[in-house]
Symmetry: C2
Subunit: 363 residues, 2 copies
């Protein structure tokens, strides 16, 4: 905000003057970079996604003049079927970030503080500030693990990324059940952006717990970051709160192309399972290769790994990798400033990362 004068600031709502917005990972416009910085899938979406958008162009391009279904019912139905829940247990939004924003508004504005880990998705503190939600940040332990005992105190809601980001560590479902049982009067949100790469989804617990909201996205495991479709699964009474919020903010968040494309993705379960397995395989190979180079790698259930090299400053390493055309994510933040978050790439990309480290940077 440095170029805005105090005089100009008089127009801004006072609370907005204090906002510290989220800073997304860089989307460089440079060609031929190896982009391992924003946890995108290295593989393209299902060919059926492309075919579905093609079909919209061929058969209903004129319908672009018409608003989309405000409820995106076709998409909710496809998600419900794939997830094994009822359609009224599904909420959809313009990316899981919008879903999370609506979750904050719907469930977290109580008198007590929302709880989340200190090392987690860096949008949570941004939402807390945006919605003026009372907040208590809970440190993870020295192994970057969440201790569920910390979430058994009075609170205004709990949000936990599982697997956590940027640590990549997953909590097992029995630990999540402990948190759910300890908070019968508050909503517990499990943010499962990365769950499809080997962790256990809490969707299987939705019918058992009336205080559970699970949030997922099509951006990672479905290779649709370019499309902006996120969703939440919960019992119908919680989905109703999200709908009330959404319909007080923006009636039609999901456009006609996005609805058609996402439906096609959810209908192609075979492709989805295959691609996730490929990412997992690539991850296991990359972990071994980096460990052989002396890296310490946290146990990952995500499509990224969180690594540190005891002999080398992490910020410096990120800079040197960038000079070689490889971007990874570095967080200049207490506790994790000696770590790098590296997205799992294709076999070729991962190999080039390993070769660059071995032959050029650490030689």
């Amino acid at each position: 905000m440095s170029n805005i004068t105090t005089e100009q600031m008089r127009f801004w709502s006072p609370a907005v003057r204090e906002l510290e917005p989220y800073v997304p990972g860089e989307q460089p416009k440079i060609q031929n970079l190896i982009k391992l910085n924003t946890n995108e899938n290295p593989f393209p979406p299902s060919p059926k996604v492309v075919a579905a958008v093609q079909a919209v162009l061929e058969h209903s391009a004129d319908a672009l003049r018409l608003y989309p279904d405000p409820d995106a019912s076709a998409l909710k139905q496809a998600i419900a079927k794939q997830q094994g829940v009822e359609i009224n247990q599904v909420f959809v939004g313009n990316g899981s970030d919008e879903v999370l924003a609506h979750i904050y508004k719907a469930f977290f504005l109580h008198d007590e503080a929302v709880l989340y880990p200190d090392i987690s998705y860096s949008f949570y503190p941004v939402y807390s500030q945006f919605f003026a939600a009372k907040t208590k940040v809970i440190p993870v332990n020295d192994n970057f693990e969440i201790d569920v005992a910390d979430y058994k105190q009075p609170n205004g809601g709990v949000i936990i990324a599982n697997p956590n980001a940027p640590t990549s560590i997953a909590l097992p479902l029995d630990k999540i059940e402990e948190i759910l049982q300890a908070n019968p009067d508050r909503v517990v949100v499990i943010d499962e952006a990365y769950v499809d790469f080997g962790a256990e989804s809490a969707v299987s617990l939705v019918n058992k717990y009336d205080n559970l909201v699970v949030c997922q996205t099509t951006s990672k495991s479905r290779s649709l970051a370019g499309l902006r479709v996120g969703f939440a699964i919960a019992q119908a009474h919680l989905i109703a709160a999200l709908e009330a919020v959404k319909n007080s903010f923006n009636s039609y968040p999901i456009d006609r192309f996005a609805i058609a494309a996402a439906v096609a993705s959810f209908e192609d379960q075979e492709y989805f399972v295959e691609q996730c397995q490929k990412v997992i395989n690539n991850r296991e190979k990359l972990v071994k290769d980096l460990e052989a180079l002396g890296f310490k790698v946290l146990p990952s259930k995500a499509n990224f790994i969180f690594v540190t090299l005891p002999a080398k400053d992490a910020g410096k390493l990120a800079t040197e990798l960038r000079e070689k055309g490889i971007i990874v994510r570095y967080f200049n933040k207490a506790r994790i400033d000696q770590y790098l978050r590296i997205t799992i790439g294709t076999e070729q990309e991962n190999q080039r990362l390993v070769d660059t480290l071995k032959n050029e940077i650490l030689k």
Copy 2:
């Protein structure tokens, strides 16, 4: 919310329990209806829009795995060029409803009340409630006109739809300048969703007034309601506030298809001008035909008209039209419950409306 129990409501943030969400016009799934209820354009978008999405599918479908540009710079550039402003004077969002929501958060949360007309876009009171904005509703006069003198009192911001909806009446720019001059310390928002059908845009005033925000949409005049792209034009210091809000809510609101499609629309000025003129021509014809049937039609600069038939109850008329396969918008609201808002259709649709009224309903 009738099916949510009080016990289940304990999870909801207290303020959310009170929300009265916006109710969009019906999007019926029935075929062969004449749909004159949501102010969509009767003509399809530019063929270049379809070609642009086709090009994404052919040349960069794999890029769907990647996040879109969070700033949608290509789209901002296309809008800036078409509107004759700088790129840092453009803000884009997921439909103009999202842009309006961000405007509320960015500019309207002061100690004084936001002002808007009693008869106007029915999302304004929803935003006021959602953001807990102090609000003072100003009655339009008996001719449904805005008296600018009413907007010269202390306030926390002003929002006026121009042309106004559902009245269709436009304010001339000199009247808007009076409001801008009377409020040097507060933002005045001119919501121009319908401006391209014959009203004067306040975009020409943006460089003159540091307190002006103009909001527009691609949903009406560009036939892209199905795509969800809205935008605001203002001086850079005001755009910065909107960016701070947007980046605290959702980093990537506009997907890759929507960016490509909207860019193509802004680059096809010739098609845009032609289609708007066709809608205006159809409007003028429809107004004459309805006046011949005894309707009173407010003077419209929009792609809809606001009409009343002294001899017939408006709600009853809407019901009878629906029975004949024609949907128009009826607001069961004080002051306007004897009016219908009718979207301008194709020549054939308008003719069928007139014929149905003449030969079946009013015979």
